[in-house]
């Protein structure tokens, strides 16, 4: 039974397109995150939501818009995709925010051509 799931696993698209990535957790956690991992494996936080409320919004282009319909779901919509957006995007969740153990999804590999 998957704890944190993401769809799709792979996403190949053209520059300028709009795409969405979905994330769901069945752990009953209050906090969910989106991370971007670049080709050098550097994992950087993008957004964090606690009980559907945005609590961390790093310096991310406003082409990226997270949406949390309920505390078990956190989706990421990306407008006008650029080549530099190519990366692996990980969703994660934790019981509380800040310092807690985080549980990661399998990642979505995005390739922008």
């Amino acid at each position: 039974d998957t704890a944190v799931s993401q769809t799709p696993k792979y996403l190949v698209t053209q520059m300028g397109n709009d795409k969405s990535i979905k994330c769901e957790q069945n752990l009953g956690h209050d906090t969910m995150y989106w991370y971007k991992q670049d080709s050098k494996k550097f994992l950087k936080i993008m957004f964090s939501y606690n009980n559907k409320e945005l609590i961390i919004n790093e310096t991310v282009p406003n082409r990226f818009s997270p949406k949390s319909p309920d505390k078990a779901h956190l989706n990421l919509h990306i407008n006008s995709l650029e080549l530099g957006d190519s990366a692996v995007y990980f969703c994660a969740s934790s019981q509380d925010g800040g310092g807690e153990t985080q549980y990661f999804g399998p990642g979505t590999r995005l390739l922008v051509l």
Binding site: K40, I56, G99, Y103, F104
Partner: protein
């Protein structure tokens, strides 16, 4: 200066060797220290979690935190080929602190 510094490696060792992985951090306000393991094409998974200075042991893995020098370590005894992965250190704290990850060290254990 980055908040967390970690040598990306790669680090290649023979099977059975003792592996030492290290990170330094700059903000002394952080209270939680974690090591995540990430296999190729998978998400990171928590390996060790410690709070404040000291050692914590779990099987072949020992996590060590020295808050006075802002230095955290992970030791792997009797390393196995299945330990080949990227190891990411992470630091966090309560009160709105976000978790900061190191760059990750790629470890290869040769049979």
């Amino acid at each position: 200066q980055k908040e967390v510094e970690q040598d990306p490696g790669p680090l290649s060792v023979p099977e059975g060797a003792i592996v030492s992985l290290n990170c330094t951090y700059s903000n002394s306000a952080f209270q939680y220290f974690m090591w995540y393991r990430q296999y190729s094409r998978k998400g990171p998974e928590l390996l060790m979690y410690t709070y404040s200075s000291g050692n914590k042991e779990d099987g072949r893995f020992t996590a060590q935190v020295d808050k006075s020098s802002k230095y955290i370590s992970l030791f792997i005894r009797d390393s196995q080929p299945s330990d080949s992965a990227t190891y990411l250190c992470a630091i966090g704290g309560r009160g709105g602190f976000k978790t900061i990850f190191g760059a990750g060290t790629r470890l290869f254990v040769k049979a």
